[in-house]
């Protein structure tokens, strides 16, 4: 059995899947604290499941709404480049919501070109002179972004090591952990990730403690923006990948409920109609979350577009039209006819069934087509290996996406390889699902929320 959990404010909501059957779907439990809400939800599930609680193997939490709502911690941004900006116009800009998070910006000389060669020697000595001033302040979160860190993360890691050897308690996020060929995207992502690490840490500790109390045999995970899941402990390190999982989880959940591992998924919600794709049992993704003309978040996330009257319909391709509106007494826009009514919270179903996912996104130098195939195959093996390291069974991993991108105006022979692997600890993937069987859920009606006696 698997539990999909959604956290919001001081409330929690859960859904239990047994194989592909929904066996329980709890109403939102709202308490004075989130920890109490989680505890109460787990208690109710234990009561409902009785002796079957030992069958609960996995609990995946969608913590996105909590991460978005909590106040981000202050961050010191360390930017490594050959020279500092000459004027205010050329300072790397951040989205207005994140700009105030940066308490201080430190420039360090350094950076690499696309071939991984240093553009300037790392200004380590100057940085070490500045380090006591950085560590003496109250800010405990640091983000480090270096020019060319997609090709070499040497300067980022050396600065991180220098900080940690003086104070091992600092929370450091380095930009090379997030793939984007845009400096400001990586900078923004590392800053926001660092700002959310403390919240991620708290959430992971709270969920882990509660999970151990109520479901000692279950493994705890968090839902990721790409429609996959990762070990809960990683939420403290890479909270950014759990910031916006809901669109992906809705696509995955709707596709799971419809038993459709491939095709188009139209989500009709109170906020509007969106469309995404499901391929091989996972949402189609893009490597960044775009935010208009501002910096993008470098996190693999489901591609979700607004549905319009001009949407090209492809008759031969199966599509799921999920009506997830809170009220369904009016017809859907665009003449859409639902193929799936909101019997269950698709997002929670998605969290419950989300597989383990791992990415390899890196630059490689190739000399020809044969060489390209070789490095691509190696990347696929590495991605599968990464999924296994997260907990997947070696026999249950598969490649979801494997792409090679030419680098425009790049150095000859350098390509970007992007591979996604997915894995499971045991069987039961969306592709096995002929249909979802629904048993009567317990608790108050789906979509309702109530105050629990906590």
């Amino acid at each position: 059995m698997r539990i999909g959990l959604r956290l919001q404010g001081t409330s929690c909501r859960a859904l239990v899947l047994d194989g592909h059957s929904v066996v329980a779907a709890a109403a939102a439990v709202r308490c004075t604290t989130l920890a109490e809400a989680v505890d109460t939800t787990f208690e109710e599930l234990r009561h409902e499941l009785g002796t079957e609680i030992t069958k609960v193997t996995d609990i995946t939490s969608d913590a996105g709404r909590v991460l978005v709502a909590r106040k981000p911690a202050s961050v010191i941004a360390i930017r490594i480049s050959p020279r500092p900006p000459a004027d205010a116009f050329h300072v790397t800009g951040l989205p207005a919501l994140v700009e105030p998070v940066v308490a201080r910006t430190v420039h360090v000389g350094g950076g690499h070109d696309l071939r991984g060669r240093p553009l300037a020697p790392l200004g380590l000595e100057a940085f070490l002179a500045e380090l006591p001033g950085i560590l003496s302040g109250e800010v405990r979160n640091i983000a480090i972004t270096s020019v060319g860190s997609t090709a070499s993360k040497d300067h980022e890691t050396r600065i991180a090591d220098a900080i940690l050897s003086s104070d091992s308690e600092m929370r450091i996020s380095i930009s090379s952990d997030f793939y984007s060929s845009v400096f400001r995207d990586r900078d923004y992502t590392a800053i926001l990730n660092s700002a959310l690490m403390e919240t991620g840490e708290d959430l992971a500790a709270m969920l882990d403690a509660s999970g151990r109390r109520h479901f000692p045999s279950a493994t705890m995970w968090f839902a990721k923006n790409d429609g996959g899941r990762a070990p809960l402990a990683r939420l403290a390190v890479i909270p950014i990948h759990g910031l916006r999982p809901e669109p992906a989880m809705q696509i995955l959940g709707a596709a799971t409920l419809a038993g459709a591992p491939d095709g188009e998924v139209v989500i009709c919600a109170d906020s509007g109609v969106t469309v995404g794709q499901i391929r091989g049992g996972l949402p189609a993704t893009r490597s960044v979350i775009r935010q208009g003309y501002e910096a993008s978040l470098a996190s693999n996330a489901a591609v979700v577009e607004p549905y319009t009257a001009d949407h090209p319909v492809r008759p031969a391709v199966p599509s799921v039209i999920a009506d997830l509106r809170s009220g369904q007494d009016t017809p859907l826009p665009f003449g859409l006819v639902p193929t799936l009514a909101a019997a269950h919270d698709a997002g929670q179903v998605g969290s419950a069934v989300a597989p383990l996912t791992a990415w390899i996104d890196r630059l490689e130098t190739v000399s020809g087509r044969a060489d390209l195939q070789l490095v691509q195959r190696r990347a696929e093996e590495d991605a599968e290996s990464a999924a296994v390291q997260l907990g997947a069974s070696p026999g249950l991993t598969r490649i979801i996406e494997s792409n090679v991108y030419a680098m425009p105006y790049g150095n000859p022979g350098i390509v970007r390889i992007r591979v996604q692997a997915a894995g499971e600890v045991s069987g039961d993937t969306i592709e096995d699902a002929a249909e979802i069987h629904v048993r009567t859920p317990f608790g108050a009606g789906e979509g309702a929320s109530r105050w629990a006696p906590c």
Binding site: R83, F183, Y293
Partner: protein
Amino acid sequence: MGALLTAEDVRHLRTGAHFLACTIDPTAIYVYAEMIEKAMENRALELISIDELAPDDLVVAIGMVTQGLFIADMPPVGDEFIGCIRAIEANLGRQVRAIYSLAAANINGIVPLMVGLQSSLPVIDSDPMGRVFPLISQTTLNIGHVPISPIALMGVTGERAVVEAHNPQRAETLVRALVTEMGGWAATAMYPCSAGQMREHGVHGSISRMIRIGEILDAETSVDRKFQQLAEFLGATRIARARVSHVEGLSRPSDLGLPALPSSVTLVDERSGQIIRLEIQNEILLVLVDGAIAAAVPDIVSLLNSEHGTVVNIDDVRVGDVIDVLKITAAAQWYSKAGLDLAEPKAFGIPIEHPRRHHA
């Protein structure tokens, strides 16, 4: 007195520069547009016609040359272009009177506006490509035998160089090598010439054209209306509305000194059943419909999202996407014999002559 550009113009220019390049990642354009808007708060940005200059006035092309790290991954420090203009002035012993864009699309379509604000030099509404090409030798000024050098370069490291080479192809080779060692891009000033030469050999109305394209694409209107307006304004034609069925990297051998590796996209027009093939190397070079040439460089090919009417980045093209493939005729100079010699598919290693070769 030329026209003073507004922040709205800059936002439209951003879209127009993106559309004409059908670029891989438009972030650098976005970053520059934001920078220009901020800088414009305290300074006026003047766009002038080439006719407003005296025939002997010294004008110079401003643009980024790249091979390696993206501009967006190695943001400019801010003093690079001014350094290049000063180097040209020192080399020629004359003052530059105005600047123009090296290309009329992508990052180079917008960069000169920032340089104009920094240097207080007017920006000319002309360029030597009328689109964007990957090589600095692929210009209408080269067709007109206007010397490319001296070329001033300055990289993000602060290192500078001045290249003096009479042969534009050699200049291209030397500059590209320097750019690689400077980290991946260099700010450059090149093709210093008289306003008279620019008037005779340049492509005119480049920036205002990008602004108008942006106005059309940024409008809250239907995709069909946008296309209709693009057709009226640019003579754009829609080659196909088709679904992507295959994307392939390193799809052709490439041993030329061209930046980037070739890739290909195959699409299927689900109504007609036609197979559309795009051959790409930085830009879209060739469009085949059922094996017949529908567009070939120097024609400009761009992609629009068929549902939203937004520009599709080549990088974002995924199997299953439905896109409109549009063709726009390039500046007339490119269809002359000398123009095709420089910029038809053969110049990019594709052994195909442009269909208009026989009329050139």
